[in-house]
Amino acid sequence: MLIVAVAVLTAGWAAGRWLVLDQPETGATHALLFDHPELGALAAEWYRARPGRRLLYAEPLQRRIVTSGAWPPQRDAIIESLHAEGVPRKAFKALDGEADNEWAALRRLGRWLDNNPQARVALLTDAFSTRRLSYVAGRVLPAEQAQRVSTVALPPPRVDPDRWWQSRSGWKAVLFGWLDLAFAYTRGEGEVRPDDWDPDEHVRRLADSPEAGS
């Protein structure tokens, strides 16, 4: 019974740990920021520990919450958030254009690395996304550029990666981490649907559906 319990705990620990690939930064001059609920604070912490470095950011696809004017663009919000944490505005640079997903963000980084041959970049992301991001970087970037980037694991929000099974958020994070990794390995980039549907039209279609009024 004890052996089974130890085996289950070890397997659980390994299932979470396998997703985490925290690589040494080896002289990173820049950090590229990826989606994380506490990105502003954690990126500012990274910056304070390495003064003089710069932070890069790839604007994600503008979602409906932004295009409707309800919420500010993420780029503006992140600049404000970093500024509030004491990071000067000049330390922040947005890569050109919008990136639908991390594959597109890394392609933009590749173009930027072409023009900045001395730069080395740390990819700051949620710990459970690091192995996937490292794999995507290997697929998207040429070998020479891939050697100039490393993944840095940011602590996932409200989850201890070594005890992820103790919280609902931990289960969710590991489950999604594995699903994302499996998708990247098996299907690659995949497609992204923009918010191309109209809410009023959607409600009209539901009201006109055959089940309506039954």
Partner: protein, 262 residues
């Protein structure tokens, strides 16, 4: 069956069952395992066809057409779809007001458009006045707590009819939770599907968002049923039954072996 010449082969040949003899257990086991692998591969290929993948997503969507209601409740999350559909329902006259979780005490993070701040902002941007937004009792963290919240509201408003908006793949689990929590009051609640968030429902397997939403919803459905439903008892009974059958088969095999040696 011919065997190569050699001591090991000769031994194997000696061990092989002759005509009329029953095949040895390890040969049977090998055939069983091979058959299972072939069957699993065939079943996997068949199930991975677009028809079944699409059906897997369709099965999760139990959304209903809109009905004239007093309120529309927005479940937390998916701020790019759910609040916008709720606002469209109010604008089209299907409901008079929107039920929302109250704002927590902490400040909103501008870099993260999260419920309930973003829901409120989306409703306002969609033309819903503050007077049409009704605050519920507390800020829930998951669907189970949202059902508890709605139960309280329906207890306080016994004549109210409510539409609940969530994304299509989430409707089956939400429906199961609401039915379980609300009992008779569930008759006054309808579920409205918002479009899938960030992927096309008809080809969810081609998108990382769909890959997360649909299979994860099946996992969550199973976990919810294990935790809150009777599934855990059914599985326990099944496990006990299988263990009992295996023990019986093992004991029978031993007793047969003993009787054949005597």
């Amino acid at each position: 069956m011919k065997h190569a010449v050699g001591s090991k082969s000769a031994d194997l040949g000696a061990a092989a069952p002759g005509r009329g003899e029953r095949p040895r257990p390890h040969v049977l086991r090998w055939w069983c395992v091979s058959a299972c692998v072939v069957f699993a591969a065939a079943a996997g290929t068949w199930l991975a066809s677009p028809v079944w993948l699409r059906a897997a997503s369709d099965w999760l969507d139990v959304g209903q057409p809109p009905v004239k209601s007093d309120y529309v409740m927005v479940l937390g999350g998916a701020v790019n779809s759910r609040p916008f559909v709720a606002a469209a329902l109010v604008r089209a006259g299907w409901a008079k007001a929107v039920l929302l979780a109250p704002l927590p005490d902490d400040e909103p993070r501008p870099d993260v458009p999260a419920s309930p701040w973003a829901d409120r902002a989306a409703l306002r941007a969609s033309g819903i006045a503050d007077s049409q937004i009704v605050n519920l009792a507390f800020t829930p963290e998951h669907t189970q707590a949202e059902a508890e919240l709605l139960k309280r509201f329906l207890n306080e408003h016994p004549a109210a009819r409510v539409m609940v908006v969530t994304n299509a793949p989430h409707t089956r689990r939400a429906s199961w939770i609401l039915d379980r929590m609300l009992g008779d009051r569930a008759d006054r609640v309808s579920l409205i599907s918002a479009p899938a968030d960030g992927y096309y429902a008809g080809r969810w397997w081609r998108s990382a968002n769909g890959w997360k939403a649909v299979p994860a919803e099946y996992v969550k459905l199973l976990l919810y049923r294990l935790r809150y439903g009777r599934l855990v008892w059914i599985l326990t009974a099944l496990a006990i039954l299988i263990a009992g059958l295996m023990t019986w088969a093992h004991l029978r095999h031993r007793s047969l072996g003993r009787s054949s040696t005597t």
